[in-house]
Symmetry: none
Subunit: 217 residues, 2 copies
DNA sequence: GTCTACCATGAACACCTGTTCGATGTCAAG
DNA sequence: CTTGACATCGAACAGGTGTTCATGGTAGAC
């Protein structure tokens, strides 16, 4: 069931309001923003959104609105403090990293998301997350269960931490990228380990690592 | 400048309310919680907290309250989806980890904070962050520049990743804790490395690692 | 003692706010 | 054409809510 333009606008305004002020808007504030003169109509749409499970309402409570998790991805993030990233798959040494195209992003359901603050991941465009499988990445100081946040790209600058597919080894590796003397030096994050050198055309850059998150429990 | 018990309680309640409902409380709700019968007294304390720059108020607006960044670490429950953590110091092998007492929390200014979502750090109480100095922690898959999120504690359960001070070595180490056969096995996160064994009374647990964050750029 | 800062009460007021009701218009389905 | 679902308006009401005022108690400073 799709939303009408009105309802989408109301949802967006609620999100923006919480974002900006730290609390939800009143019925009249909503009406003013979306251009509805009567409080009863806003109330009407609010109940509609509630039926769609996009909104929770606390009866008789001023500003008693809350966006449900279901509504979160449909709301204009705007200048939010957090970024929601899809976890599109897993990463391990023997397999290429999954790419994120428009389709996979859409198919990702809410269970497979992680949100992080912009302090940790400043950009949100073409950024996605991968769960680390196995312990084949310990030379990158990354272990089973870690979340790797990647930015999709096929090029890299010197010093970038990249996910690279080494063709002749049929192997994915996470290393710092340095293009020097016509070849590429891949430097492990672990300073006690030696770099490897590969030819440029033997390398396929699949993304740039922009953060690693390890959540113990 | 210290807060009175009343004011701390009000601040806590505002945080808890935002946490629980998604919006701040009204003056009367605050009064009811902290045991103040008159709205004017609550108003009085609110203005006091505003003068201390712990609170922002939107005049004439119901529930027009917002905790400032300065207030965040002093509040029991953080603000909704994110937790702000003070970065109270650095961690390296040769030094004990700094402890977070009430004083350091107060002295921390806003620059030395990091906020993370509750998905990554569920609790907020007695939790703080340390910046990793040097590469002496690579056996814990942790490197220079990483942020380690710790929970202050002096005890640990089996399997916890702890920051431990080994007395006779005068060394801090991050390892998984296993109490077995009257001694303690400290297991490195790197599965290719061997555990070390220490006597219980040679060990001082300084905190529990609950997350590691590496933000590249 | 007197003064001042602080904390508290209770009441009153005006505006804010959610709720409800009756009426109207539109538009696709039957 | 009639019907029903949907969307909108305007108005009214009751209770919620921030603000203000007069009053007074307590405790430490001078």
């Amino acid at each position: 069931m799709a939303l009408t333009e009105r309802q989408q606008k109301i949802l967006d305004f609620i999100g923006a309001s919480i974002d900006k002020h730290g609390y939800p808007p009143t019925i009249r504030e909503i009406g003013k923003d979306v251009g509805i003169s009567s409080t009863s109509v806003v109330n009407y749409h609010l109940n509609k959104l509630k039926d769609l499970e996009l909104l929770e309402r606390d009866d008789q409570i001023s500003r008693g609105l809350k966006l449900t998790a279901k509504a979160r991805p449909m709301v204009d993030a705007g200048n939010g403090a957090t970024v929601s990233l899809p976890i599109v798959g897993t990463i391990q040494a023997g397999l290429p990293v999954p790419v994120m195209d428009a389709r996979t992003a859409f198919e990702t359901d809410e269970q497979d998301m992680i949100s992080v603050t912009r302090e940790i991941v400043p950009r949100g465009d073409k950024v996605y997350a991968l769960r680390v499988k196995g312990d084949s990445m310990i030379d990158a100081l990354i272990n089973e269960g870690d979340i790797v946040v990647m930015q999709s790209t096929h090029t890299a600058s010197n010093g970038d931490m990249v996910a690279a597919w080494i063709k002749d080894r049929e192997e994915t590796t996470l290393k710092r990228f340095y293009h020097e003397n016509g070849r590429v030096r891949l430097q492990p994050a672990n300073p006690t380990m030696d770099p490897i050198y590969v030819a440029l055309d033997n390398l396929e850059i699949q993304g740039k690592v922009i953060a690693v998150i390890r959540s113990l429990n």
